[in-house]
């Protein structure tokens, strides 16, 4: 798993790549918490290079979503692969996350 964070004008873009599972979900949670603790609550996660995410990783995403929402922010997702998108749908998470077909649309949605 690799996490790249770019600070943009109104949002923070987080690019997540590789595999997220129980061995590294904590690291993902820490990275998200670091952004939220720094007062960044408008988050876009680009998932185009995310190969795999298990429930351990999804829990971190939901947990972060709840925190940014509590701060009137949002965590929006962009460009998940077909499989990752299916997994989000299976878990019903497509209803609580806004998912965008391009990074530009996700960033522009804020």
């Amino acid at each position: 798993m690799e996490i790249t964070v770019s600070e943009m004008h109104r949002v923070t873009l987080i690019e997540l790549s590789g595999r997220v599972d129980s061995t590294n979900a904590d690291d993902l949670g820490d990275a998200l918490n670091a952004q939220i603790d720094a007062g960044r609550n408008h988050l876009v996660m680009d998932l185009s290079r995310l190969e795999y995410i298990s429930s351990a990783g999804l829990r971190e995403l939901v947990s972060a979503l709840k925190k940014v929402k509590a701060n009137n922010g949002d965590l929006r997702l962009a460009t998940p692969s077909e499989r990752v998108r299916e997994v989000l749908t299976l878990a019903g998470l497509d209803a609580i996350f806004q998912v965008f077909p391009t990074q530009v649309e996700a960033v522009g949605s804020f």
Binding site: D21, T89, L90, A91, G92
Partner: protein, 267 residues
């Protein structure tokens, strides 16, 4: 002709990817399509994670997980055995004790995925081993059985609130009757709906989807949809999937109807 493969991994989270790779090879050898292979890998990841985190309760190289795969014709049987204390996943998501993190029960979501992704899942505690057997067929030929639709009862309350009471299992096939009664209500511009969930014993993502679709339509019509009287096990599904953030959920039909009028939608 079935081909059997075996693998043993130590009870360490960072060894789970080896189990995943092993199952991918077996699933590909069985001729499963790419989606089915991916789901097998994820189901094995989720189960092994649960075994280590909740079964053994620690990472310890002296613990072991045994995995057997039987590859058949466009189908695979995966059996995973461990020596941790008996834990029956069919008690999830309802009865796992109190380890809630942000309303998400450890293990609960993983188990949810296993059930959704595999065609058959069977658990037993046999001869000192937790034994989970999962069968996955190629999703290309996958044909779902169609159980009878759940019976649905609708009634009107004062203030233009309509109550819909589905019963039984709300899953991909069992929720069709429910979906059509939701649609009829919305088509009749009955936009303030309470779904009385007291008779619902199980809800899958198919049932959740029907609710979300109806919720969106109700909001568009200037109304809202609230849920009442969820059984603990059903309520847990909402918490695990995060849907508890989306819906107004109340203890009774009356309380749900009252909440509808306090917060009548955002449109």
């Amino acid at each position: 002709m079935a081909v059997e493969r075996r693998l043993t991994i130590p009870g360490l989270l960072n060894k789970i990817p080896e189990a995943g790779d092993f199952v991918v090879q077996a699933a590909e050898a069985a001729g499963l399509d790419e989606r089915a292979v991916y789901y097998c890998q994820m189901a094995v990841d989720e189960w092994c994670t649960n075994v280590i985190e909740h079964g053994y309760g620690e990472e310890n190289p002296r613990n072991h997980i045994n995995i057997y795969c039987q590859s058949g014709d466009h189908a695979i049987s995966i059996t995973i055995m461990d020596d941790s204390p008996p834990f029956d996943p069919t008690n999830l998501p309802g009865e796992q004790p109190n380890k809630l993190v942000e309303n998400l029960e450890p293990g609960g979501l993983g188990w949810f995925f296993i059930r959704k992704m595999m065609d058959e899942v069977h658990y037993e505690y046999y001869d000192g081993h937790n034994t989970l057997t999962m069968i996955k067929r190629s999703s290309v030929d996958y044909a779902q059985p169609a159980p009878a639709d759940a019976p649905v009862i609708s009634r009107a309350m004062p203030n233009g609130v309509w109550v819909i009471a589905p019963a039984g299992r709300l899953d991909a096939t069992g929720s069709r009757g429910f979906e059509s009664s939701l649609e009829s209500q919305l088509a009749a511009a009955h936009a303030n709906l309470v779904v009385d969930m007291s008779g619902v014993t199980y809800i899958s993502s198919g049932g959740l989807k029907a609710l979300v679709t109806a919720w969106r339509k109700a909001q568009k019509l200037g109304g809202n949809l609230a849920l009442a009287s969820l059984a603990p096990r059903v309520r847990k599904v909402f918490e695990i999937s995060g849907f508890d953030m989306l819906f107004v959920i109340a203890e009774s039909v009356e309380a749900a109807a009252a909440k509808l009028h306090v917060a009548p939608g955002k449109s």
